[in-house]
Symmetry: none
Subunit: 203 residues, 4 copies
């Protein structure tokens, strides 16, 4: 069944394109990134990229969604760990540090889409943000259900959690802080998040 092999080869090419796209978009931004360079680095012809993605914009969006899937999985995994909510939020913070470190291209391009200015991608970015918040809100609701925290506005609280953890990592990286010095803040940030949610952290 050559079909499966072809299917696999096709998917492999698609992934290669997405990876190189993340690299270029993270390096240069949407406008400065060059489709030809992405194709070349992906080892395919200039025209071939259009057999996989409709145009530059769609490639960017596909890459964004691909990254979001991975990040969401990380967020979910961090929040699904055993332990108190505080410990799990600390894991969330550490997850962001890890993502920023291990695949900085993806992290940067994702943050740029969220907070960047290009209105062309605002709708998609909003969707991403909502996905992230939904995952966090789910965990918060479970914690509220078992009386671990008290909060009336789950959505607002989820945003507090996300803002503090994610944007702290982002800003710290912009400032050039080392992974170590950022990691050292993990428990402090987790404690801060928790205390703001309406329960004094497990003293």
């Amino acid at each position: 069944m050559p079909k499966i092999v072809d299917e696999q080869a096709r998917e492999a090419t698609r992934q290669r394109i997405l990876r190189e796209a993340a690299h270029e978009f993270a390096r240069l931004g949407f406008d400065q990134a060059n489709i030809n360079v992405i194709a070349e680095r992906a080892g395919i012809g200039k025209g071939t990229i259009y057999l996989y993605f409709e145009n530059k914009r769609e490639l960017f969006l596909a890459m964004l969604r691909s990254i979001a899937r991975i990040h969401l999985a990380s967020i979910r995994a961090a929040l699904a760990m055993k332990g108190t909510l505080e410990q799990r939020i600390e894991q969330l913070f550490r997850a962001f540090i890890r993502l920023a470190e291990e695949d900085s291209d993806s992290f940067n391009v994702s943050m740029s889409a969220l907070y960047g200015v290009n209105r062309a991608f605002q709708a998609e970015a909003t969707k991403l943000l909502q996905d992230y918040l939904a995952v966090i809100a789910l965990v918060l609701e479970e914690s509220r259900a078992i009386g671990e925290i008290q909060t009336t506005n789950i959505e607002a609280t989820a945003l507090q959690v996300l803002s503090l953890t994610e944007s702290y990592v982002l800003s710290a990286r912009v400032l050039g802080w080392s992974k170590q010095s950022i990691t050292r803040q993990a428990s402090a940030v987790a404690r801060q998040v928790l205390s703001g949610i309406g329960i004094h952290p497990s003293s």
Copy 2:
């Protein structure tokens, strides 16, 4: 003395260019923004813009610095108000809400410069971020001096304050939340910030 009039007219034109530049850059990003459109909207000829700014990049940087000056003044004013640290941080949060509301172009373009991927402005953006942090750090040090808070790493703490307040507002706006609903979170956010800094807020 026509000189003064000329000087005033010149400065007025400069400000008009900066305002329209903020509008265009916020709407389309650096690359997609069109110098000709900015000139047209500012009511001047295409070439005239180059009598005020060396090139597109310098116009962008000038605009960024101009915005930063205003934002810094707002941050300073908020943190200089009478009251407890918690109250002042609440004012800081409200200041960000106000800036985002009253001049959303400036707020967006400023955030974009900080968190966007355009490497061309990273150095300048980092400088802005450091300026913001310095202002916050100064206030925190004063509070620590009078025993209001306990914290060893002032810089990290300042980043926590900024991350939570500023990026909360940014994200909430991306989500389309109303000014009212964001403002309602003011005291909660302030309390969260404070509790993370090492002192239980004035219960």
Copy 3:
């Protein structure tokens, strides 16, 4: 083998561009010449020209070198003919007349590069001039070896030959003299050249 066809088509396009470039550059000079017009006249798209030449400057230089190759071949052929040195110099003069007549664009643009002020091409123009002189000097040396002429400074003599023949044709054309009236001077010019070289022409 489509490769050969492609290669041929490509070379044909290249030649078409060079020909039209010579036309435009001869008509308007380097600065006033319009790349878009050259492309249009060559029957290709605006961008296509950049698949063949890096930029306007490189196109100009390529055209110059292409012309120089042809002119050098003509000079060589004229000087390689059978006959006395005087006869061969008369052939050289006639060669210039022919070049100026048959491809006046190339002749004009070539002269312009040599004697124009555009410093940007001075280095290249000097190289051309030296190539021309080298060819003439070679012939003069052979003539000196067989005692046909006497001269100590071959290089200066070569320049006398070139100056008189080439620039006579150029000036005569500027004055609007007909090909016939210029050709009529051929033997006179050749005799003049020879007599200056240190031997009375075969009376």
Copy 4:
């Protein structure tokens, strides 16, 4: 009578503009030369130049005519000296060397107009060339009248004289030859010219 003073000041300014124009045009060519730079170097305002010359083109032409007047005077002076025709032609050659040396800007820009490609100035350049030839032709006719030379076509002969003397100097300078080495060829060139004109030089 302030009128005269004004008249003098005006003429002085005009000359200053022409001098700087020659410098810039010789340095950069017509298109690359910058009117603003010429004005600045002439110590006047940008707009003032248009009180003296209609536009860039007219300024160039005025400069060209001004240079031509000086060169013509030199040519006339050289040919008016006492001595044989051969001696006077040697003086002509030396005059070109001197002009090229002492006011290379003018020499270059003048040559460029004559042999350059810019058709916009072809008519004017032709007029210059004809003026030069007329002066030479006049002298040749006198020499023929007294039997010093024999030639039927005075105009063609004049062009031979001019081509050899002027373009030899021009080419030699393009090649970077020193004034000394060029001057050393003076008598050889003069003899060559003469011998070509139909009389054996005074052996």
